[in-house]
Symmetry: C2
Subunit: 215 residues, 2 copies
């Protein structure tokens, strides 16, 4: 029985691969594991059956036999620990790859999400013009630090890892902002990720799921 | 040689245990491992020597032999994987405890930090009065969901774990907001954590470090 993950029935990103199920699809493609997807409507996400799987009423979840997991970072780590391809064998390198997973989700993503939320929900507010440059500056600070660390390397620490996978999905949330274009090495890093066959299979699968209900 | 962690030379929280070194100190106390602390000034945090340890110029870092880690979540996970006391033995329960670690840092903490930043840096702005209720509502949504899941249980999933440790440190960031008091079960949860001897030893150590340079 392959694991079952949940995804938006109608993703608000309209199939751009920005919803968090993309992280899990991509991880499963990288390690060559089949999976099934159960779409969940916005209404069903907040009902008891789904809340039993995900306390915060979000997607993705991951069901594998008796195991139920939530949080895309935890699911990707679970997959990476059980199958070769997303974490190095060397113990220290493995610890550093996991550090990049947390850095993606706890240091780089929050200012990016904060900026996105302000653009989505406060664009017409009188303060938007004054606040947005402040939010942009917080994102740029992280991009600048990340770019400095990456340097000329293809990936954040040695071979491609679950840290690169999560960081790529976080940086892609900036697609519509234009901010990533200011950092050519980071744009190239994201493009390098997107060129991976596993990424392309995962992207095509979520796009197909979106088109099936919205086409 | 015990591991060496970094902490603020002068913590902006004035010894309230809200800086992220507290998470690592507490984890090391829970598993009974000695450690050393190297204080870092705000200026030194942004210089090359520290950036080599932490790409984003923050604290804490963790040095143990050849291993250098950053990100408090990754450091706590590293400690929890190597010593008994912070993760259950059962593989599924272990996966769920790690899911709570990611939930604390990627789902619960971001709206709390966003609210704190707004209070710190935008309190005197003309929009503060209209925006703060929106930010409070986002925090309350997470607290409400978390409270529903916790129910009458002492901890989030079975025995105390690294997930509870991180969630407690995240919820404590609300101390000055009064929001936590609206959820008595969550207040009691935090108090239960704070009563743990390992927490108290870690808290005393960071308070002593603050008093030593500011006394």
């Amino acid at each position: 029985m392959p694991p079952v993950i949940t995804a938006f029935e109608r993703s608000p990103d309209r199939g751009q691969g920005l919803a968090r199920d993309m992280r899990v699809r991509w991880a499963l493609e990288e390690v060559g594991q089949p999976y099934e997807v159960r779409p969940v409507s916005f209404q069903a996400m907040k009902e008891p059956a789904h809340l039993a799987l995900h306390p915060f009423g979000q997607i993705p979840t991951y069901e594998e036999g008796d195991l139920v997991l939530f949080e895309s970072g935890a699911i990707v780590l679970h997959i990476a620990e059980r199958h070769a391809g997303l974490l190095p064998d060397d113990a220290n390198a493995r610890g550093r790859a996991i550090a990049w997973m947390f850095a993606a989700l706890n240091t780089v993503e929050p200012p990016i999400v904060e900026r996105s939320m302000a653009v989505l929900f406060e664009r017409d507010k009188p303060w938007s013009r004054e606040r947005l440059p402040m939010l942009d500056a917080r994102v740029r600070q992280r991009l600048s630090e990340l770019s400095s660390r990456l340097g000329d390397a293809p990936w954040l620490d040695g071979a491609f890892s679950a840290g690169d996978l999560l960081m790529t999905t976080v940086l892609r949330r900036l697609n519509s902002s234009g901010l990533l274009n200011e950092y050519p090495s980071l744009s190239a890093y994201v493009a390098r990720s997107e060129a991976r066959p596993a990424y392309q299979r995962a992207f095509a699968a979520q796009r197909e799921a979106f088109n099936a209900v919205n086409g």
